[in-house]
């Protein structure tokens, strides 16, 4: 009979490390999907998820059980992804001269007929990934959680450990930052 998360956690805390495996099997898909929002290379994605599980194992005694284990784990996951973004800030002020031909064509179609430019195209997906990479870590995190994953502000506050007012301030700044990046794209492409 399948053991519940609570039973598995209790067994791990008593010293049975093998009881951790069912938890890893159950929640890894969700963690991989989350990590892939913040890292492009598969090696980095796997490193992030490994780190999340190692932290979860070592901090398991701090799980109080007043909320589902998944919520506690996702909070750990979001913070680990944020640490990854902060640790891997490359030169974000890169220009858009290296955008691919499909991306460029998509932008041309958007300029010509904005309403007809489809979002369901690889080029649009690549463009948005490029755009997100240009944002600062807090901006990228809040845009991903708020505008892409459609999470409420209170949940974002709980996941990140930020206060609700701080989430709102960061969301405001993130949108402004996105507009700046898009304005730079428009200038470089069309001027």
């Amino acid at each position: 009979m399948e053991r519940s998360d609570t039973e598995l956690i209790a067994a791990v805390l008593k010293g049975d490390a093998s009881s951790f495996e069912p938890l890893v099997e159950k929640y890894s898909p969700r963690l991989f999907a989350t990590a892939r929002r913040y890292a492009r290379r598969e090696s980095e994605v796997e490193d992030i998820v490994q780190e999340i599980w190692l932290k979860a194992f070592h901090k398991l005694a701090s799980f109080r059980g007043d909320a589902p284990f998944e919520h506690w784990l996702m909070r750990l996951a979001v913070r680990t992804c944020y640490d990854f973004l902060r640790g891997h800030q490359r030169n974000r002020e890169s220009n858009f001269t290296d955008i691919t031909e499909p991306e460029s064509d998509w932008l041309e179609r958007f300029v010509a007929q904005p309403e007809s430019a489809s979002e369901d195209v690889d080029a649009a997906k690549q463009l948005v990934a490029r755009l997100l990479e240009q944002l600062s870590p807090p901006a990228r995190l809040v845009i991903t959680l708020l505008e892409i994953e459609d999470r409420p502000v209170k949940e974002i506050a709980r996941l990140t450990g930020w206060s609700v007012p701080l989430v709102k301030v960061r969301a405001f700044r993130a949108r402004a930052e996105m507009k700046k990046v898009l304005a730079r794209l428009a200038r470089e492409k069309y001027l």
């Binding site: 890894s28 929002r37 190692l54 755009l131």
Partner: protein, 110 residues
Amino acid sequence: MNLELLRKKLLAAARGNPPTDRVPYAFEKRILARLQGQTRLDLSDLWAHALWRAVAPCVGVALVIGAWSFVALNDAAISQTMAVTENQDLSQHFEQVMLADVGEPNEEIR
């Protein structure tokens, strides 16, 4: 270019394209192997932690002993100086006593 519309279109593209939740082959086994390896290393980890915790008290003790030695040395130096001064008084006094019989400066020697 309508930047706000462009922003919304691109975000809609991101929303419509959630990342895959594929887990690499044998990932769970690798995690467990790593955790079990870490558990075995715990004893050395405990020892290392104990050593680090001992650093602050050891530094404190070293500072106390150093300060006490410094004060003790200073006291010894002062005592030695006073002893030299006393000795000089004693030797001068001895000289005066021993040579007191040599005579008055104006006395004629026959």
